[in-house]
């Protein structure tokens, strides 16, 4: 197995994972903050077939690619999914190795449930570290843990069926496909000034945690500039929708469950304090400011330019840059492929749906015919 062919395999895994993530983001989420996480199946398969380092590579690259495609690069939802994808992949690997080498045999079901729980705990910790430094947000923990068990169960049983069908004999069929290449690499004169401006404001917004008027003035300035520059407000709104559960939830709990400080209003057991009002607006304005910055950045650069900039920044890791650009090049066709496969599912027969999904996974991941 040469280096080049290995890269092809990883590219297909990355493509599948990111297209699953993209397709999943089009469906509405009935429970706030809870997602099925179909892309985590691909991470698990990468752990099984490629090993830990390439699996982490897959999970990092898929979050980057899907965020570039959806225009959520460097937004709060991207930060959350980026780090929790890494930790959940590592937890998968640990449990997988335990089940291989000791008497504690865990099947993919257990491994995926565990990794889903780790994923959600990491997300909440990240929210605590980066966005809302209040212990109240751990009120969300029970819901996230229970939902992680359910979603992990679904993805785990899918992963189990896939590995059962694929086995370990002919898994590198994929590497026989001729290596595809992105047609021509354009060289951009990347506008570094905007990026530096973005980084400065990002750090400023990030570091000011105490003063509400700082965040409020940032918000007003960003809002005016955003509209003056004729940026698309829909991009902002789309990014907000991704973290809407976080914004609404943190606003409510900080407003109503923070009975410390000067009291503003008291009604029976309900105490609203000035501190609570201050914190609820402060943290949410901070999140909204980061969303503003990221959606501004995404509109200043095209996807190819961002890809070029990422390549320049990670110059020590050319392979990743190649995979990203190849994946972005192939992604539109690949998405169509996945969509047409999904449309073929016969939803009238509930017993067959599960098997159909497994077949689609195998077809896409291990026999990519449409892209030869």
């Amino acid at each position: 197995m040469s280096m080049k062919n290995d890269e092809v395999g990883i590219t297909f895994f990355v493509l599948t994972a990111s297209s699953l993530q993209i397709i999943e983001s089009f469906f509405p989420h009935p429970v706030p903050g809870v997602r099925l996480g179909l892309a985590n199946i691909v991470s698990f398969l990468a752990v099984v077939y490629f090993g830990i380092f390439k699996a982490i590579e897959v999970s990092i690259l898929r979050t980057i690619i899907s965020s570039l495609f959806l225009g959520t690069f460097l937004s709060p939802s991207f930060i959350l999914s980026f780090f929790s994808a890494i930790t959940s992949t590592i937890s998968m690997w640990i449990l997988y190795n335990i089940s291989l080498n000791t008497i504690f045999k865990f099947s993919p079901l257990g491994i995926n449930v565990f990794s889903a729980v780790v994923h959600n705990i990491t997300q909440l910790l990240l929210v605590y570290i980066f966005f809302i430094q209040q212990k109240n947000i751990f009120l969300f923990l029970p819901l996230l843990l229970f939902s992680a068990v359910v979603t992990g169960w679904i993805t785990g049983s899918l992963a189990l069926e896939i590995v059962k069908k694929v086995g370990f004999d002919n898994i590198f069929l994929i590497s026989e496909i001729s290596v595809f290449q992105n047609k021509e690499e354009k060289v951009f004169n990347a506008d570094w000034l905007k990026l530096i401006l973005f980084l400065i404001f990002f750090v400023l917004v990030f570091l000011s945690k105490k003063k509400i008027y700082v965040q409020a003035s940032f918000f007003i300035i960003f809002f005016i500039f955003y509209l003056l520059q004729k940026n698309d407000i829909n991009v902002f709104w789309k990014n907000v929708k991704n973290v809407l559960w976080l914004i609404i939830f943190s606003f409510l709990i900080l407003l109503f469950l923070h009975p410390y400080g000067k009291v503003f209003l008291k009604w029976k057991f309900l105490i609203i304090t000035f501190d609570g009002i201050n914190l609820s607006f402060l943290y949410n304005l901070r999140i909204l400011n980061i969303v503003f910055l990221s959606s501004w950045l995404v509109q200043q650069y095209s996807i190819q330019e961002l890809n070029f900039i990422i390549k320049k920044i990670v110059f020590f890791y050319p392979r990743g840059g190649r995979i990203v650009s190849n994946s972005l090049f192939l992604l539109p066709n690949f998405l169509e492929d996945v969509k047409s496969q999904v449309k073929k599912i016969n939803f009238n027969n509930p017993k067959r749906i599960f098997e159909n999904i497994v077949d689609i996974f195998i077809k896409i991941l291990f026999q990519p015919t449409g892209l030869k």
Partner: protein, 127 residues
């Protein structure tokens, strides 16, 4: 290939043990919400005209400016720092730091008390 030699193809008992353990963790996390560190056990409440004006942990230093009076919270203690009342009973009460002790200022209708978050009722207190 050696890779898939020990792979587990069936759901095992350990899976269910793990999931059971995680469900217990999820249930237990409900309880974690009400956990607070020992430092933040005591809460100060300040009332004026029978309305709650201020409520916070005793560990948080603060100056509460009220009508005709100032309450100071410092080093896990509370006192009435200044008051406009004629006899200054409230100021002379000095620092208080135990639950169920209180500072009262009748002319200004101010009432400061310390609450404990863990012990709800008083069983036996002797001063």
């Amino acid at each position: 290939m050696e890779v898939g030699k020990n792979f587990v193809y069936k759901k095992t008992i350990f899976d269910y043990i793990l999931i059971f353990f995680l469900l217990i963790l999820a249930g237990y996390s409900f309880q974690l919400l009400f956990y607070s560190s020992k430092n933040d056990n005591y809460v100060v409440e300040v009332y004026q005209d029978n309305k709650i004006v201020y409520r916070d942990f005793l560990s948080k230093d603060n100056l509460v400016h009220l009508r005709n009076a100032v309450v100071e919270i410092k080093n896990n203690k509370v006192r009435m720092k200044e008051s406009s009342c004629p006899y200054k009973f409230c100021v002379n009460t000095g620092w208080i730091d135990k639950p169920y002790k209180q500072i009262v200022c009748v002319p200004n209708k101010i009432y400061v008390k310390i609450l404990s978050k863990t012990t709800q009722g008083v069983d036996g207190v002797s001063y």
